[in-house]
């Protein structure tokens, strides 16, 4: 038993391949950044739909949120990569294929847009009605009120929650290896196929992610403490 333990903790193999593995990590970061942009914009759109005046709009927004919040990341990833191109292909009568990176960004972006939509909506509804009344009394258009009064306050209130969602999202990018996006886990599996030594590599990957996420979430925790005190002063 201790031989295996020694093997897994012998991270020299992990260190040896660090260049490739680091490249993989950068892919995780890239997928994260693109998917996060999608999640934020689509999420904001869905949140605004949910509080729209017309009930069909509200219904669409709610549908969007419920579908994507409750969908497992992996099944969404597989569906976007294998089914969506076929559906689009049927409509435009040509063969369509998605690059895995694109599928990953769309799938993760839309899944997390559901979570962001809820966070935005809660933030928007928490703005006191009086703020909006004052805006209207001054003749501000609804659009102006949204951008100058509502959203700045929503961002302030929801920043800690948003940061936590970002961290979750970054963790979720590990599954993109399953549709052959060359991220860290994908490169790890490639190396394992070559070297036939899974123990140190999986252990190394776990420790790497652990340290990164630990750093990020500790930072967010400290920041959120100070932020909440500042905002709710």
């Amino acid at each position: 038993m201790s031989d295996a333990l020694k093997q897994s903790l012998d991270l020299s193999m992990f260190w040896e391949y660090r260049a490739i593995l680091l490249q993989g990590l950068i892919f995780n970061a890239l997928v994260f950044l693109c998917a996060a942009s999608v999640a934020l914009s689509v999420g904001l759109g869905a949140a605004l739909l949910r509080i729209n005046r017309f009930w069909p709009m509200r219904w669409i927004g709610t549908l969007h949120v419920e579908v994507f919040r409750n969908a497992p990341d992996y099944i969404m990833l597989v569906w976007v990569h294998f089914v969506l191109p076929l559906l689009i292909g049927m409509v435009i009568r040509r063969r369509v294929e998605f690059h895995p990176f694109v599928s990953a960004v769309i799938a993760l972006g839309f899944v997390y847009s559901g979570y962001f939509a809820e966070a935005f909506r809660a933030g928007i509804q928490a703005i006191p009605q009086g703020n909006l009344d004052a805006g209207r009394a001054f003749g501000m258009s609804e659009r102006l009120i949204l951008w100058r009064i509502t959203l700045p306050q929503v961002v302030r209130r929801m920043l800690p929650e948003a940061l936590n969602l970002f961290i979750s999202m970054f963790k979720a990018t590990t599954i993109v290896s399953l549709i052959a996006v060359p991220d860290l886990m994908y490169n790890v599996s490639m190396v394992i196929q070559q070297e036939m030594r899974p123990l140190p590599l999986y252990t190394g990957a776990a420790i790497t992610y652990f340290l990164i996420i630990l750093l990020l979430s500790s930072g967010v925790r400290v920041f959120s403490e100070r932020w909440r005190r500042k905002i709710l002063a």
Partner: protein, 223 residues
């Protein structure tokens, strides 16, 4: 569409078999998560010498992405610990460990949120520490965190899709099997996605109703 009937309805046995495996794994993982979370939480709060270890484990299980944990538990642990011996066990173990980290923190927050007066009243009535904990504190903690606990179950169900990667015959892997056989992914994958979404939606709905019920009955601030 005739395809739906042929590909999905006629294969429902295969899919249902997968779904039952999914439910099984998730149920065991959930129990493991609650028990593990409780143990970690109690050690962290009350067993001073082991506190750093508990904190480390909690952070580790929470911060490591589930996919990475899954591969690690499935391929590395058997070599070192001899357990888990099957991929099925690796599945629920990894899912349970990850959620136990979250639940440990949920429980800790809940315990610290119980007003001091509650304990004061119990001690004044002559109750011992363990009695106070099991009869006064923990019930309140569990009631107040019920929604979070239910939410963690949805997280487990959503993450369980990954155990197909370590060849556990869950719903996800059954549907992929069908796709490989029939080469027609649209209906099968869409149906699979719909089943998962519906399943998770029902669990969340139950959680919400539960939270409302509890709030009305006990007036507790359910998170």
């Amino acid at each position: 569409m005739g395809n739906w009937e042929r590909l999905v309805w006629n294969q429902r046995d295969v899919l249902l078999a997968g779904l039952s495996v999914t439910v099984e794994v998730c149920a065991i993982a959930f129990v493991a998560a609650v028990v593990g979370g409780l143990v970690l939480c109690l050690i962290r709060l009350y067993v001073a010498p082991l506190r750093p270890l508990a904190i480390l484990l909690i952070e580790f299980f929470r911060d490591t992405p589930i996919f990475v944990q899954l591969m690690w538990v499935a391929y590395v642990w058997p070599e070192i610990f001899g357990f888990p011996n099957t991929f099925f066990n690796a599945g629920w173990l990894a899912l349970g460990l990850q959620s136990s980290g979250y639940l440990a923190e949920t429980f800790r927050a809940g315990i610290e949120a119980v007003p001091r007066g509650q304990r004061d009243a119990a001690f004044s009535a002559g109750m011992s520490q363990p009695q106070t904990f099991t009869r006064i504190v923990m019930p309140q903690v569990l009631l107040a965190s019920a929604p979070s606990i239910v939410n963690q179950f949805t997280v487990i169900v959503k993450s369980s899709t990954l155990i197909s990667v370590i060849t556990v015959p869950d719903l996800m892997s059954q549907s992929q099997k069908l796709v490989n056989v029939w080469y027609e992914p649209i209906e099968i994958l869409t149906a699979t996605a719909a089943i998962y979404i519906a399943f998770v939606f029902l669990i969340s709905l139950t959680g919400k109703l539960l939270a409302d019920r509890l709030r009305r009955r006990y007036g507790l601030a359910a998170s």
